[in-house]
């Protein structure tokens, strides 16, 4: 009962998050400007982090959590650096 419920919910959630990643990728490729692409990349980071957490629920492995944490931190640093670059033309002044 609970196995069927959780497996189905995890599968549907994985499909929804994969679709969200595809939509973010479409926006990143379409643009039209640099800040749109950076925003789409940030969304893609968050979506892939949630996808990994959902994958961890589905498989029962705790290792996906650490990968999700690393992706969250990389996404924050990458987006801040890209926004700084868009603002000033330099990342480290």
């Amino acid at each position: 009962m609970s196995a069927l419920l959780l497996t189905t919910a995890a599968l549907i959630a994985q499909l929804a998050l994969f679709a969200a990643m595809v939509l973010a990728t479409i926006r990143m490729l379409r643009g039209p400007r640099a800040q749109d692409r950076v925003l789409a990349l940030d969304t893609l980071y968050v979506n892939s982090m949630l996808f990994l957490v959902t994958l961890g629920i589905g498989t029962g492995s705790v290792f996906f959590f650490e990968a999700a944490l690393v992706i969250a931190m990389l996404g924050f640093v990458a987006t801040v650096a890209l926004a700084k670059f868009l603002m000033r033309g330099e990342v480290i002044e």
Binding site: A16, L23, A34, D42, T43, N47, L50, A83
Partner: protein, 134 residues
Amino acid sequence: MNHLAEVPVWAAVPAAVLLLVGAGLTLIGSFGMLRLSSFYDRIHAPTLGTSWGTAGVVMASMIVFSALGSRPVLHELLLGVFVTLTTPVTLMLLGRAALYRDRTEGNPDVPAMLSLDGSEAGTGDGRGSRGNGV
């Protein structure tokens, strides 16, 4: 899927609901980011995924792993707190950068800089006047 059969039903039902709500909100947010017309509209849409999308998925993960183990598993909270704290910072920086770029190009769709006496000061760089610098 052997491990999920050990989760009791009272934990499986809220976990499944939270998982579906979180993933669904994230999908709606990404769809909005694809669909909305201007950048300043678009920057609002992914926050669905970073607020309740992340909260739902993280709470579902906490419920499932707490029900599987004998003690509460709380390290997913780290993920939720981290995303909640960093999203406003990144989006403020990105919005500021976009506004600066639009003002530098003289884009008429964005409001111009106001100087201290209230008159338009042309295309400022977002620093100095009215204390709205970074």
